[in-house]
């Protein structure tokens, strides 16, 4: 693999600093925390720039790192929606199913237009809080997979787990996330709920 071009970290601050800051402050509602998170994101980016493979744009990559920092922040703060921790084996998913293997509480209908659901601020706030309420490794696996777009192979390597473990963790993440969103009473898009 050829080396990616050397990235200019200081130019990033000028080019992306404001956009990253706006994104962060919209999530954490606090200037100081938002600034710290942006700084942490830039630092992490510099330290891991060899991982930047030019697959995504620089901007997307930086946003991906910032999202991790925001989720970490939520996780540390006490205001998160709490989701019960689960152990790593599939048995822990038993609560979702009855003895015959059917749904205990079948997924409910999510009103609204799925095409626009994720565009509403409120909905995305729920999403963030649910994600940050997951057990740490579960949330890490999910963000690596769905936000960073890593393959399960790459996730296994990073989290040092087996492939089957990885699928179980991702399954659990999705089950817990959708349950959490449901419990939060999501109305994905009020204007499209008819």
């Amino acid at each position: 693999m050829e080396n990616p071009p050397k990235l200019d970290a200081e130019a990033w601050v000028e080019q992306y600093g404001d956009a990253l800051f706006r994104f962060a402050i919209a999530r954490v509602k606090d200037r100081d925390i938002a600034e710290d998170l942006v700084q942490e994101a830039f630092l992490a980016a510099v330290k891991s720039q060899e991982h930047f493979q030019g697959k995504s744009s620089e901007k997307t990559w930086l946003f991906g790192i910032l999202k991790h920092k925001i989720i970490d922040h939520y996780r540390k703060s006490k205001t998160m929606v709490h989701v019960q921790d689960y152990t790593d084996d599939l048995d822990s998913m038993d609560a979702f199913f009855n003895a015959k293997g059917g749904w205990n509480a079948p997924p409910t209908h999510w009103s609204g237009n799925p095409g626009t659901a994720y565009e509403t601020r409120e909905f995305l706030d729920h999403f963030y809080h649910c994600l940050s309420g997951l057990p740490k490794r579960t949330a890490e696996a999910f963000t690596h997979r769905e936000i960073d777009g890593l393959s399960t192979g790459e996730i296994c390597k990073r989290l040092d787990i087996t492939a089957s473990n990885c699928w179980v963790i991702l399954f659990r993440a999705r089950m817990l996330l959708r349950k959490c969103l449901e419990m939060a009473g999501i109305q994905p898009s009020s204007k499209a709920s008819e």
Binding site: G17, R22, I25, R174
Partner: protein, 83 residues
């Protein structure tokens, strides 16, 4: 035949890797009869879309907010100290 418990797991797995054909067939067959699992599958697709859209312009909210000059210099300073 797969139960919902197995099918939901397979549906999740199918979003991360290619499943063997007989699993795919079994899932498809199950989904034709089970609206719960069909709904579950749609919701997983939605979760993926949400995760992918977490940086859209609609998220940036306070459009007039900018990183203060002080913060910018501080961040640059920190970055310089790294290299």
């Amino acid at each position: 035949m797969f139960r919902c418990k197995d099918v939901s797991q397979k549906i999740s797995q199918s979003m991360d890797s290619a499943l063997p054909i007989h699993h795919r067939m079994a899932i498809r067959f199950h989904l034709m009869m089970c609206r719960h699992c069909a709904r579950f599958r749609r919701q997983l697709v939605m979760l993926r879309k949400m995760a992918g859209h977490m940086e859209g312009h609609q998220l940036t909210g306070e459009m007039d907010e900018t990183l203060s000059e002080a913060a910018k210099s501080r961040i640059k300073e920190t970055l310089r100290s790294l290299t």
